[in-house]
């Protein structure tokens, strides 16, 4: 129900019918795993093994296995936590915010992006839990009655807000994702030939039949969930930024943090979506669904959010000077010219300069360039968090306690390990779940696809209804 301009590129190419959509998406779910997928899973499992080993060392010997010291008490762990949570934000932006804005190009990428959100939040959650040192007492962060001899939790603390924000974000995203998956599981169930597949997808599809009443309710709750997820996703990174902003550390104590972190989160998340999608569309031959139009749209979001992040960096620097606070000024001069200058300039190059190349249409539409730039953004955003956290801490108020941070092999192992965990989960998802939202793609097929032929001869690309209904 939207107006589609005739000059707009079709969202689905190749003249697909409804049945073709089902076939193309179900193919990899039904086929035997191919060699490339198995090879990728093997690499990811090596990463997972590294994660398990590093976690074991961290738990058995304690946080002393990490490179933290008295001055730099937060380093890679919190950097990785913020990095992963940020990556997750793109999935919710695509599935919720773009749904509210009725951006139809989201339909073919929202499933995988939302899966990415869930897996990224799982990876993120590992870090604060491990950093507790005694993760088996993690339930102490919950407001439980004080029969343990402790008090109630401190509701004034942003770290506690984070507990609520991350767990709500994870569970609501999971539910939103699952609600969207139910009709597609039903499609796979009705095609399944093997007894195990039929049973498994029957259970997962919750007995979905696709009746008109069920669809009506399904659409209603999807819209409401999108409406709930939109402020939720903004609140999550806002609260993450308050972990820093409400403290009195120079370089952290700034009011720009919430919007700057949210923009950065979406920026890094879109980069990760692009990294994953460019590979997925190739491996599973989904080029007709995830087209250059999609890549270009995502690249436009990257320029916007990347520029917001760039402006935020410059604003922070300006305000440090303008505030007249010497510690604040020192923190920023030290970031750019101190011992961690290389981290600062890596961040600046990767986040501020490289995405600006997307102003050129040919670069926005080049898969190779997009893939390379998306990797740059992923790296740059990791450095952003590292710069914010470590450079602000390593030279604190007393020069006698100044220190440097260097990661141990276990620090690196936990980080690389979560990447392994992430890809293990993503590859399993890509094999057993429909990576493209079939029913949503089918619902836009009539108004926005390159349809060459139809039995009734009623539709050609943009058909009559897409012009008559200009109001949503």
């Amino acid at each position: 129900m939207q107006h589609v301009s005739p000059i707009r590129e079709p969202l689905v190419t190749g003249g697909k019918t409804y049945h073709d959509v089902t076939e193309d998406v179900c193919r990899q779910v039904e086929a035997k795993p191919n060699a490339r997928w198995a090879a990728a899973l093997a690499v990811a499992l090596v990463g997972l093994a590294i994660f398990i080993y590093s976690t074991y060392r961290t738990l058995w010997y304690g946080i002393g296995e990490w490179g933290l010291n008295k001055t730099v008490g937060w380093a890679w762990d919190i950097t990785n936590f913020v990095w992963w949570v940020g990556i997750g934000h793109a999935g919710t932006l695509i599935s919720a915010i773009l749904l509210l804005f009725r951006q139809k190009w989201r339909t073919s990428i929202n499933r995988a992006a939302e899966a990415m959100t869930i897996f990224a939040v799982i990876c993120a959650a590992m870090f604060p839990v491990l950093h507790m040192g005694r993760p088996w007492l993690a339930y102490w962060v919950l407001p439980l009655p004080n029969t343990f001899g402790s008090l109630w939790v401190n509701f004034n603390s942003p770290l506690l807000w984070d507990v609520f924000a991350i767990s709500t974000y994870f569970s609501v995203s999971l539910v939103f994702w699952y609600i969207g998956l139910i009709p597609d599981f039903a499609t796979i169930r009705d095609r399944a030939t093997g007894p195990i597949a039929r049973r498994a997808y029957a259970v997962l599809s919750m007995g979905w039949t696709g009746s008109a009443k069920a669809w009506s309710r399904h659409e209603t709750i999807s819209l409401i969930l999108a409406g709930l997820c939109t402020p939720l996703v903004l609140s999550v990174h806002t609260i993450v930024s308050m972990d820093f902003a409400t403290s009195v550390i120079p370089g952290w104590h700034t009011t720009i943090f919430p919007p700057y972190f949210v923009a950065g989160a979406i920026f890094s998340g879109f980069a990760m979506v692009l990294t994953l999608m460019i590979i997925t569309r190739k491996v599973f031959k989904l080029e007709d669904y995830i087209t250059l139009e999609h890549v270009e749209s995502m690249n436009k979001v990257i320029i916007l959010t990347g520029s917001i992040v760039g402006v935020a960096y410059i604003t922070e620097f300006f305000i440090a000077w303008y505030s007249g606070v010497e510690y604040e000024q020192y923190a920023f001069i030290n970031r750019a010219t101190g011992p961690y200058w290389w981290a600062y300039w890596s961040m600046m190059t990767c986040n501020v300069i490289t995405p600006q190349l997307f102003w050129f249409r040919s670069i926005r539409r080049s898969l190779t360039a997009t893939f390379i730039i998306s990797i740059f953004v992923n790296i740059g955003m990791w450095f952003e968090r590292f710069v914010i956290i470590v450079t602000s801490l390593h030279r604190d108020f007393l020069p006698s306690s100044w220190a440097m941070f260097s990661p141990t092999i276990i620090d690196i192992g936990v980080y690389v390990g979560t990447i392994g965990l992430f890809f293990t989960l993503f590859l399993l998802f890509a094999k057993f779940f429909p990576v493209i939202n079939m029913f949503e793609v089918k619902s836009i097929l009539k108004s926005s696809s390159e349809v060459k032929h139809h039995p009734n001869g009623a539709m050609h690309g943009t058909n009559k209804d897409s012009h008559t209904n200009t109001h949503p």
């Binding site: 004080n146 004034n156 939103f176 008109a212 009443k213 669809w215 309710r217 399904h218 409401i224």
Partner: protein, 174 residues
Amino acid sequence: MTKKFVLGIYDDEDVLLQAIENVRAAGTKIYEVFSPYPIHGIDDVLGIKRSRLPIVAFFCGLFGMSFALWMQIWMLGFDWPMIIGGKPHIALPAFIPVTFELTVLCSAFGMVITFFIVTKLKPSLKVNVFDKRSTDDKYVMAIEVKEGVTDISALNNLLRSNGAIEVNEKEVTK
């Protein structure tokens, strides 16, 4: 108990919408319509009322908000008051984030659980799908056959004259 249905299979949503209107105008009660994706405008022609799930979401959210505020005020204000950072015991601005998160959590879960209950969705191995193509690329209109009342051949003609590509009969054991 066995119920018998006549299924009209369609392959175009516009034809289906017109057919629903004509079939209903002819005085035939439609048991259910199945489609592979949500069809816009089908609610109006089938006479489906707007879902009240948003109201459920609102009240669950209201519950979540009240619960969160009560919990924080009671715990830090009354049960075990402590001075934290020189702030008042009941520091409302600091309670907003947790209140917001619990509002969203209760609203989303309350609504989704209600959706599962009212739509009768639950994990089960046996699923009564009238025609398996309705989750792929066909639209299925199901009309219940009442023994001795329904004239099947007339129904067949009605469905076919309204663009059904196939008309089948199906018995379903409930």
